[in-house]
């Protein structure tokens, strides 16, 4: 169905090709998962499969790409619309119309499909994706998971035989991600649609894959059975790492398979005390550095935060969890002092950050927003770092650079911030925000777009901040990151705190928030691979 023959892609002005001599075949009805580190050319591979590379992006493509029997050399993306459906990471930016029904019909209008066929297909697609009750709703009013399903539906109405999905669940909370994945697997199983899918959060999708395509840093790509490919891949979800650790052949890909294999391992480590989550024990304690009492945030009639009280202690890492729209971001902005707060008290070191001047408030509380790039506006990394030093007022010159080198070594001075990878850009913003040595650090969705190794370095950074005695709060959907980094988990729902306690207590029992290791080793209270590794080392 999709075939790459000796494909090499080089972008204009680039020294090396992004993809080099790629040969692969994806057969009809398969779900092929594209894996690889950030920035290795996964998106290029997806783009080449739907004609956007090179017709839309520029660059040169050598070799031959055939999709559904058509060659992308002679067919522009618009001429492949009836064969390939493409869905991007941010569905909202790809919507052309205003309401769900019109969006589903758009592609059919372009293909000049007869009106009665259109009516029928729209109804079928609404039912197939479970969005029938949303038909008249404006697209902007939908939740993230609903938008993503509408985006899938909007290409599905053309009856394409191939779906290309670029990180369809990255921005979604665990429940919404499951909704979207359930819809995708139904398409594969019931309709025989061929799916090419890239995703960072492998733990969510790897169990559904029929094939895995690994893109390597040198531009080569390989396709194979998921179990064999992942046993040696550079990126792997916790369940695969556990399989590697336990020496399972082939490795398990789903929690269910792993639980059937884990018996002996669980027996071996059952009698032993569970190792501490982190090698370096944290000394969280002392008086709270930030005290919030009955914080209320509302926008018109919508109450985003309903009377939340929270204490943050120095050296403590808190994860703030909850579904999209549960008030996590609003709470962070209210704690920082720049966001609205209708009532309640926030005190940092005895002062209300909102009453202080902006500069003073930022010295107390730093916030890294969901889109860190909003904070960057200069032309080079060096200028941004200098500006950060100036803003810190009092920090020694070069403080920001020193921080950046600790967070992500080796970022050259003269690079434009937009050209950095997602993880590097986050590090740059963190360095700029931390140069003024705040007592409290608030992170909003810090793991967006990070691969496993970038996430590991983020965990190291958070450890470092906690070791320096700062209080860290991270609002996140990423359960694996929470398991690895947080001491304490606070769960929000509809603007209220519904759970607050040590990570192990809150997370292990929850069906949505439990990390894979906890699900596999339950009832033992293990959270991370690292804990299991140390327990196993202790046995020998």
């Amino acid at each position: 169905m999709i075939s790459f023959e000796q494909v090499t892609v080089t972008y204009a002005g680039a020294e090396a090709p992004v993809l080099r001599n790629v040969n692969l075949q994806v057969a009809e009805g398969e779900l092929a998962l594209v894996v690889g580190r950030t920035g290795v050319g996964k998106s290029t591979l997806l783009g080449a499969a739907c004609g956007l590379v090179p017709h839309f992006t520029g660059g040169t493509l050598a070799g031959r790409v055939l999709v559904g029997g058509r060659e992308t050399r002679t067919h522009k993306p618009r001429e492949l619309a009836d064969v390939v459906g493409v869905v991007g990471q941010d569905p909202l930016s790809g919507f052309v119309t205003d309401t769900v029904e019109e969006e589903l019909a758009y592609v059919m209008e372009q293909l000049a499909i007869a009106p009665d066929v259109m009516r029928k297909r729209v109804e079928e697609t609404l039912d197939l994706l479970g969005i029938a009750e949303l038909r008249d709703r404006p697209l902007v009013d939908l939740s993230g998971g609903q938008q993503q399903r509408v985006a899938i539906g909007s290409v599905l109405t053309a009856h394409p035989r191939i779906l290309v999905l670029d990180e369809p669940t990255s921005a979604l909370d665990p429940t919404a991600a499951e909704e979207v994945l359930a819809a995708i697997t139904r398409l594969v199983h019931d309709l025989g649609v061929t799916v090419l899918l890239a995703e960072h959060r492998l733990e969510r999708v790897v169990q559904y894959a029929d094939r895995v395509i690994e893109v390597r840093a040198d531009g080569g790509a390989e396709i194979g059975e998921p179990a064999t490919m992942l046993a040696s891949a550079k990126v792997a979800p916790p369940v695969v790492e556990l399989g590697r650790l336990a020496g399972w052949k082939p490795v398990a890909l789903s929690v269910r398979d792993a639980r059937r294999l884990v018996g002996p391992l669980r027996q071996d480590i059952a009698g032993r005390p569970v190792p501490a989550p982190r090698r370096a024990a944290r000394v969280a304690g002392g008086d709270p550095v930030l005290r919030a009492r009955n914080v209320v945030v509302r926008y018109g009639a919508v109450v985003a935060v309903r009377g939340v009280s929270l204490d943050l202690r120095p050296g403590e890492v808190t994860a703030l969890m909850g579904r999209n729209g549960s008030g996590k971001s609003s709470l962070l902005w209210a704690l920082q002092g720049s966001g609205p707060r209708q009532s309640g008290v926030v005190e940092v070191d005895g002062a209300d950050p909102r009453a202080l001047s902006a500069v003073k408030a930022h010295r107390l509380v730093a916030l890294v927003p969901q889109t860190p790039a909003d904070l960057l506006y200069l032309d080079t990394v060096a200028q941004e770092l200098e500006q950060a030093d100036r803003e810190a007022a009092g920090a020694p010159s070069g403080a920001a650079r020193a921080l950046l080198d600790r967070l992500a070594p080796g970022i050259p001075d003269e690079v434009h911030p937009r050209d950095l990878s997602e993880g590097q850009r986050l590090s740059l913003v963190l360095a700029a925000q931390l140069a003024r040595a705040p007592d409290v650090v608030l992170l909003d969705e810090p793991t967006r777009g990070l691969d496993y190794s970038a996430k590991r370095s983020l965990v190291a950074v958070v450890d470092l901040l906690a070791a320096e005695g700062r209080a860290v709060v991270a609002a996140t959907h990423d359960v694996e990151f929470v398991a690895a980094a947080a001491d304490r988990v606070v769960v929000m729902a509809a603007g209220e705190l519904v759970a607050d306690g040590p990570t192990a207590d809150v997370v292990v029992a929850s069906p949505a928030f439990a990390p894979q290791v906890a699900k596999i080793l339950a009832p033992l209270e293990y959270l991370t691979i690292d804990q299991v590794r140390r327990a196993v080392e202790g046995l020998e």
């Binding site: 205003d98 019109e102 209008e109 259109m118 729209v122 009750e133 902007v140 998971g145 100036r390």
Partner: protein, 406 residues
Amino acid sequence: MTTHPHRWSVLDHRRVPRPAHPIAWWIWAIGLATAVSRTTNPLLLVLVLAVLGVVVANRRSEAPWARGFKYYLALAFVVVFLRVLLRSVFGGDVVGTTTHVVFTLPHIPLPSWLAGIQLGGPVTLEGTLSAVYDGLRLGTMLCCLGAANALANPKRALRVLPGALYELGMAVVVALSVAPQLVESVQRVRRARKLRGGPTGGRHALRTIAIPVLEDALERSLRLAAAMDSRGYGRTGAATRRARQATGVLMLAGMAGLCAGAYGLLDSSASVAFGLPALLAGAVLCCLGLALGSRRVRRSRYRPDPWRLPEWVVTLSGVVPAAVVLAGAGFSAVSLGSSTEPLTWPALPAVPALAILVAATAAVAAPPPLRPARRRPTGPTGSTGSSERGAASELVPVPPPIEVPA
């Protein structure tokens, strides 16, 4: 009376809700705006505003674009205020024996080469009132546009464009969707800027906000373009070069005719005898061009809005005020103006007032709008596939969930 939330419930509950044809609403609004452009009589203008308010309140849906009428009202106030302010500062009101001076601004003498302009000086009641009426006329015209926007989704109106103009319409649609995104992204970046401390005013701050916003806008438009491309946008059939040129010439000539005709009809100093033929000729040329251009397009339309009796009534009720005011029959032309010298209470001319009231029938004649039964905000989960249309108990509008502070 029943406890139904709509005023016209007795009439409405027998009719099937559906969106009215957007073109009907636009003709209705343009008709009213045309009538407004010919009068400064404050009573007539206020009457038009009242008609707009009644119709919008009764016939708009609950979609995001339908929430904008109040912004147009606010804009109208700003227009009136600015008009009065400018008149007061640059007024140069002539003080006669019968004028009423409200207060006197310090007069600032200007050099002789600026002889025509006066800064400061006495501000008269007469001058201020005439500025109010003038501003009110412009403001009311803006509100007519606002009503059209609230009643008919502008994007849906553009879908009605003939195939030859499809690309143009699409460009406008994209531009329309970029504007609110730009506002959102300015707000987001400004909030983020505050987080870094540093200067928040002046040229520096402008740069710190403009650059991320522009980068963001560019990236979004590229993503939208990619999405449209891979969904088949631009798959037009083959047209010969000659056919395209012929279409272009016909369209340009037609447009010129339309513009000249509209100018002739709307400007009170030009004669209607020139305006009408030019308008008709332009329209014919445009239709020819469109017909020629549309022959090359292969595209279909999903659920086109029907044009039935209610659409005719709405259109006519908008055309009547324009026709009556333009024809000028049955009332004296003076009554359309406002008298400020000498200062008198404006009289309400009966015929134009009745004509404007005719436009209010649209509030009943148009089909009741679709008010989709909203789900209660249960979060991102749950989808049973059952239709909730017509669940009257759920007509309460639920505002969109807000993830980040505004």
